[in-house]
């Protein structure tokens, strides 16, 4: 739930993205998007296939670069950053949950959760390992630490992926259809988890989803159609979105 006093985590300012599909044709997929996301926001991004949701998420996650416009993360402009700078922000402030959970098969559940910390600082400390265990416990996977991803069910894998996304205590959690290939019950459970972490850690959550039932449980739903925001709806809070 957003509060006007909450600092802004993400701000889009006239963000555009176009692809070169063989010169001179340029295909613009995002047409100047403006949006602000605050700490504690739990926001769904919905829209039909091909509307540009994943492209937007990749831009916000600094995996891709906008053609024009500016993208502020924690009030810091990011367009001029080089790969090193964007990697640093990704490492420190952004957590990712992908549709296909994307765990690394060679590592155990616990190691997968610790991976973002290990990539940043090498061998994990005892406190970091404890923290990762707590997260696994929180997603209901106590006792599964040593299991390899292939030994877990789809829902369990996605829960490991959520624990992994949260291990760095990111300011922004991005989830690309995190329940896309899970059954309804498991999907509801995953959503509940995300909701809980949003409350407990105060990290802004942006979820791309197709499922209207799930998006309605979010505080806010932003609709993207053909690269334009066509709706910004608040469910839980009657107050308008702070600009």
């Amino acid at each position: 739930m957003s509060d006007a006093k909450d600092p802004s985590v993400l701000k889009l300012d006239g963000l555009r993205k176009s692809y070169n599909i063989g010169l001179p044709t340029e295909l613009e997929v995002l047409h100047g998007l403006d949006m602000t996301l605050h700490t504690h926001d739990f926001c769904a991004l919905v829209g039909p296939s091909g509307s540009g949701k994943s492209t937007l998420l990749n831009l916000i996650g600094l995996l891709d670069q906008p053609t024009s416009g500016e993208l502020y993360l924690l009030d810091q402009p990011t367009r001029e950053l080089d790969d090193e700078g964007r990697t640093k922000i990704r490492r420190e402030s952004i957590g990712f949950v992908f549709q296909f959970h994307h765990l690394i098969e060679a590592f155990s559940s616990l190691e997968n959760v610790l991976m973002p910390l290990m990539v940043k600082g090498g061998r994990p400390t005892a406190e970091q390992s404890d923290w990762a265990m707590q997260l696994l416990d929180a997603v209901g996977l106590k006792g599964f630490e040593r299991k390899k991803p292939s030994q877990l069910s789809g829902g369990q894998q996605q829960r490991v992926a959520i624990a992994r996304a949260l291990v760095t205590r990111p300011a922004l959690l991005l989830a690309d259809e995190p329940t896309g290939n899970l059954d309804t019950q498991t999907a509801a459970h995953i959503f509940e988890l995300l909701r809980r972490f949003n409350r407990e850690f105060g990290c802004a959550v942006l979820i791309v989803t197709h499922d209207p039932r799930l998006s309605e449980t979010c505080d806010r739903t932003i609709t993207l159609v053909d690269g334009r925001f066509t709706g910004d709806e608040w469910h839980k809070s009657p107050s308008p979105a702070p600009s």
């Binding site: 990749n58 995996l63 790969d83 990697t87 990712f96 060679a106 973002p116 990539v119 061998r123």
Partner: protein, 400 residues
């Protein structure tokens, strides 16, 4: 670096069959290199050993005589028709002083004066052409240990006693204790007693060599008090040419190393080294391509994981290092196994091979081949690792 190492190891362990295959490939390559290099080095050492068993490392001789045309007035035209001069047997001037000077050189281990020239050995109706070699036995034995090759009698060469080659002995039908008549030019003859028969293993030498006491040989060859060559040995045989040049400058005499005397042999040895180096190089090259191709496949297989790691904040250099380390690990372990197999092949060659000569791996071949294979692994990994580090995270994550 810890995380890169851990990821590299886990990736290699996960694709165990692939890792095992390339390890076998590297091991086979390294074992071939270890074996070939050891075999050729051993063979060469054996050949050099045999050659130097009958030769001094350096021979010092007087310069050959040349024609010296009379000096002519400037501007005058001179037409010369000359034949090369015949080389008569000549002594080294002041050979005692030369010998003393040579003995003082730091790398020289033994010096022996020799007077040698042609002659005939006659017994009954048989006449054989021989090389009369006058020596100081004690000094000469430090150059060539004839007593090791004695097959009959003993190597006792002094006034009136001689040691001859086995082929000559059988040609003349002499045994230890038999008398022999030696003839040189100018009606100089001597009758000597055979005290020893030797076999150097070189047919030509065994058919011609007649060792005499230095003084007796000088008298027989008409070079009273003179010597025709000074034989030397040096500490490092492959340094002989340098020392020979040094002696050249020091004494003004003609000095030749065993390498110059056996230039054809040296040529053969060098060609052998070249071919073994070429084999090693191309085997190493194919090993490198093997590592590179396996890692290239691995990068493709790991595309999605690379994407995830990049999304999590792994830097480009970290991805680069993961694959470079994989190359190094493959090279290191593969070469350890290969060195072991190579060692086993050497052992098997000595145990079950033709048995003409023994080869032993040098102490350095193992660490050197392991180091080269590891570096090769890293170098081979550069291209795939570079590709991994350049993967676009967005495309990599979507990659299925």
């Amino acid at each position: 670096m810890w995380i890169e190492f851990t990821i590299a190891l886990k990736f290699l362990r996960q694709g165990l069959a692939q890792t095992a295959l390339i390890l076998i490939g590297i091991a086979v390559g390294v074992s071939v290199i270890v074996f070939i290099v050891t075999l050729v080095t051993g063979l060469q050492a054996n050949i050099v050993d045999r050659t130097l068993g009958t030769q001094a490392h350096i021979r010092v001789e007087p310069f050959e005589e040349i024609n010296r045309p009379a000096v002519i007035r400037p501007g005058a035209l001179q037409l010369i028709l000359e034949d090369e001069r015949s080389q008569q047997l000549r002594s080294i001037n002041n050979w005692q002083q030369v010998m003393t000077a040579l003995e003082k050189l730091p790398d020289v281990t033994a010096v022996s004066p020799v007077v040698s020239g042609p002659g005939f050995a006659r017994r009954g109706a048989a006449t054989m052409s021989v090389s009369i070699i006058g020596i100081d036995p004690e000094r000469y034995e430090r150059i060539i240990t004839i007593s090791d090759d004695i097959t009959e009698g003993e190597f006792r060469v002094n006034a009136g006693n001689t040691a001859i080659g086995s082929k000559l002995a059988s040609d003349l039908g002499v045994r230890v204790g038999s008398k022999l008549r030696l003839e040189a030019g100018g009606n100089r003859t001597a009758v000597v007693t055979v005290t020893g028969i030797f076999e150097l293993g070189v047919r030509d030498l065994d058919a011609r060599f007649v060792y005499l006491d230095l003084k007796q040989a000088q008298a027989l060859l008409g070079l009273y008090g003179g010597v025709t060559t000074i034989d030397l040995t040096v500490t490092d045989i492959f340094d002989a040419s340098r020392i020979s040049d040094q002696i050249d400058r020091l004494t003004g005499l003609k000095s030749e190393s065993w390498m110059q005397i056996n230039s054809q042999l040296m040529n053969a040895l060098q060609s052998q080294s070249l071919s073994s180096n070429l084999i090693s190089f191309f085997v190493a090259l194919s090993v490198a391509f093997g590592i590179a191709s396996v890692l290239a496949i691995s990068v493709t297989q790991r595309t999605r994981e690379i994407g995830i790691l990049r999304a999590m904040g792994a830097r480009k250099e970290q991805m680069l290092r993961v694959f470079l380390i994989q190359g190094a690990i493959l090279g290191l372990f593969g070469s350890f196994i290969g060195a072991g197999i190579g060692w086993g092949m050497v052992w098997a060659f000595n145990e079950f091979g033709p048995g003409l000569f023994d080869i032993s791996p040098s102490v350095t071949i193992i660490p050197v081949s392991v180091a080269i294979a590891t570096i090769t692994g890293v170098v081979a990994a550069i291209a795939p690792a570079w590709r991994a580090s350049r993967l676009d995270p967005v495309a990599a994550i979507r990659y299925v």
